[in-house]
């Protein structure tokens, strides 16, 4: 697809299954959803009180050098998770960067890439302010009747906010902290396209490396919507399962099942390390045990036009999703029957699922019933801008381990879809197709192949 070939050399997934590649892969093999009542705040009054949250034992200080602890105080949760993901990805890729040298205390070692040859393209969401922090300041601007008074706010209330408050919540701060920590001085971009942000980021990073602007790129996406404001917004989109407390969240998210009733929130995402094949190979001459996970073989982005819902759901035929699949296969120069596995968006929402099903049917035709489809939403949830990052990690790990992840919660699949529940199993996998669709109708399709 590009002038230079691009490989994925490291992944840093962060999600309800845990941190790092092996935690995610274990969860995908076991087919276990890790959902529960929301821990971050009391969500019992919310229409959808469940989520898959990053495990409680996550400690940011395990991922940032001591010298950076002060800056860590101005990180929203999304930023913390991205910083952790980037550190994990660099470790996983076996590439030495400034952040690894600082964290691991190996000052005698040098970074393997020159700073301007490393870039960042990271997907991010609309980051909500920490309610307690902001409200403790807002509450100081109440009048005698206890009502918020904007005059009091302007006069004195705002001074109760930490001076750097705004910088916690700018979406580009994920990439900002990652580029500072790893000293990546090449092009830096932040994609804010809802659930396809991570896929678009990886697609654009591939083009960036392909055209020679950088040799290595931190990419992917990360988000936590597990706070009252973001979670309510997600509920407002109508995509989350409205669940009573007696529902079992581990079985309620049911992509492509005829009983699918909505998605469940997750948090996290993944940072991936992409490298030019040629510079990766150079690195491998000295680090002979290195192995690339996958080649990025094809990428396409399209836009849904569904005026009926103003693009809040795809059109019923999934027209633009099908177009993305065709264009990505064309870009990868492979035929539909060459695809061995699909990691779909698989939201578990009837309108999204049937559109994606129809798009797959249109693009794969008679090859569809044979094609294994492994949705991972029931294991990790719907993670905003991080969603596609986790889906790419699933594809990467399936290629690497030559195995299909388990499929759960699909007892009555939609017509012609090979997506019925079943355990993970070894499989010969050459090409994997990863799909994503955003609220707003942006779609992406990426083809990953064995390196």
């Amino acid at each position: 697809m590009s002038l230079r070939d691009v490989v994925i050399s490291g992944i840093g997934p962060v999600c309800g299954q845990g941190l790092g590649a092996s935690a995610l892969w274990q969860g995908l093999l076991d087919g276990r959803g890790r959902f529960g009542p929301i821990r971050a705040f009391d969500a019992s009054a919310f229409a959808s009180p469940f989520a898959s949250e990053v495990p409680e034992d996550f400690k940011l200080r395990d991922y940032v050098p001591k010298s950076y602890r002060k800056a860590a105080k101005v990180m929203a949760r999304d930023i913390e998770l991205a910083v952790a993901g980037a550190q994990l990805a660099a470790q996983d890729a076996g590439v030495l960067t400034r952040a690894r040298i600082d964290l691991e205390g190996i000052a005698d070692r040098a970074p393997q890439y020159e700073s301007p040859r490393m870039g960042a393209q990271i997907g991010a969401g609309l980051i909500a302010s920490d309610l307690d922090e902001l409200t403790s300041a807002l509450a100081g601007a109440r009048d005698q009747a206890g009502q918020f008074d904007i005059h009091l706010w302007g006069e004195r209330g705002i001074n109760d906010l930490t001076p750097l408050w705004l910088l916690k919540y700018l979406p580009n701060m994920l990439a900002c902290h990652v580029t500072i920590l790893h000293d990546a001085q090449g092009p830096s971009n932040t994609i804010t396209c809802g659930e396809v942000s991570a896929l678009h980021s990886v697609g654009e990073a591939t083009r960036l490396i392909g055209r020679g602007a950088v040799d290595l790129c931190f990419c992917g996406g990360m988000e936590s919507k597990i706070n009252p404001m973001s979670h309510l917004r997600q509920i407002f989109t109508g995509r989350l399962l409205e669940a009573s407390a007696d529902i079992d969240p581990a079985t309620a998210l049911r992509p492509f099942d005829r009983k699918a009733a909505g998605s469940i929130a997750g948090e996290g995402g993944a940072i991936l390390i992409l490298e030019a094949l040629e510079t990766f190979e150079r690195r491998r001459q000295e680090q002979t045990s290195l192995q690339a996970y996958a080649r990025i073989k094809g990428y396409a982005a399209t836009q849904t036009l569904n005026p009926k819902t103003r693009n809040l759901t795809p059109d019923s035929e999934g027209t633009a999703i099908a177009m993305a699949i065709r264009l990505a296969l064309e870009d990868a120069r492979i035929a539909p029957e060459d695809v061995d596995l699909v990691i779909p968006f698989g939201a578990g929402h009837p309108a999204y699922d049937s559109a994606e099903r129809n798009a797959l049917a249109s693009a794969f035709g008679s090859a569809l019933p044979e094609l294994r489809i492994c949705p991972i939403r029931p294991m990790v949830g719907l993670c905003g801008a991080g969603t596609g990052g986790l889906d790419l990690c699933a594809a990467v790990l399936a290629l690497h381990h030559q195995a299909q992840p388990a499929v759960i919660n699909c007892d009555e699949p939609l017509t012609d879809l090979n997506v019925a529940s079943g355990p993970s199993r070894p499989a010969k996998i050459e090409h994997v197709l990863v799909l994503g669709t955003a609220l707003g109708g942006q779609n992406a399709a990426i083809v990953l192949s064995r390196p």
């Binding site: 705002i158 090449g186 804010t192 396209c193 678009h200 836009q303």
Partner: protein, 436 residues
Amino acid sequence: MNTHPSRRRVVVTGLGWVTPLGHELEAVWRALLAGQSGIGPITRFDATTFPTRFCGHVKDFDWRPLVRDAALHDGILPNTAFALGAAAQAWKHAGLDRDGVAGGHRLGIYLGSGEGILDFESYVAANVGAWDESARRVNSTAWHEVAAARMKAAGEIEQEANMPLTHLALEFGAMGPCSNCLTACAASTQAIGEAAALLREGKVDVMISGGAHTMIHPLGVTGFNRLTALSTRNDEPTTASRPFSADRDGFVLGEGAGILVLETLDHAQARGATILAEITGYGSSADAFRITDMHPEGRGPVAAMRMALDDAGRSVDDIDYISVHGTSTHENDSTETQAIKTVFGTRAGSVPSSSVKSMMGHLIAAAGAVEAIVCILAIRDGIVPPTINLNKPDPECDLDYVPNEARKMKVDMCLSNNYGFGGQNNTLIIERFDHA
């Protein structure tokens, strides 16, 4: 000129903007050349006790007559309204309303638009109403009760940063690659650079690109006031934005949108479009230094300018005009000056540069797109806009910033800079279109 024969040339065929100085292409341009200020009191909310009480508002703007079907866009927030207004102008300017474009998937959109304005009143009512003073925290059950009742689902969804993009896609039928980047004040420059890259690679025939943003709302002004980034010259709003002046005290918030129609040269020529300029170079870098400060030597801006020049196959000797980021903060203006000196060497002092932020304020994510339009109009008309309010020279800022008066000059090639909080730096090279 195209030094890379394998890649397609990218030309600009349509322009549109919605700004504090108006929302019609030529009228805004005339106001800029006349050195007018679009700055006045904040009217969107009661800012009378805020440290900063003035801004550059978009005034008297109605998007409804500009779109095909207003029902598609009912309930949009100001950022999306600005984007639609600017895009409708650009589309028409490009003659695409007349010609149409073939195939929805050959038309893409790449914006650098900001998030929509939050429903402050409902948000504060929920937050303050649910505040548990003794526990020092918000009770989420009480919060939910107020928030779910008061907040409107559509208004909350419209705040997502990809919503201007989504509405533009619906309005113009774009089915090709559509994306939004948000790299603070460098966003729409980055968007144009990335849109041009897609065209060069042949993935699309036409791209709508640019950005829209407003941070003129209570929490936006709060955030920038806390960073002490805003001017507080409340008594003299029209002269408060004074880039490169020794007595500058911060930037002035503006709002609006700038949208460009970009095409491959082949596509533009095949339909007989009027070609306004060519985009030949794009450079992007990260400071990777600190979250709050620019690198003191401006290493990121230097890298972005050099990368853009190299991309265009041009040298500093070719540049006639620089559209500077020039925010009117102490740090930006001196660091940017330093960076220009590093890149341009002995030529630095003789290349005119100016900042239209002195007149319309800082349009944040939309700034770069508006400034790219300024470059194109400067090439077309042979005149560059001034940096107004530049009355006290700063020894650290000693370049030719075209102080206070527009200047007639031949402009064939421009370099346009934008930088974002957090260290993103983007530069474009925009040239007079030449058939050769």
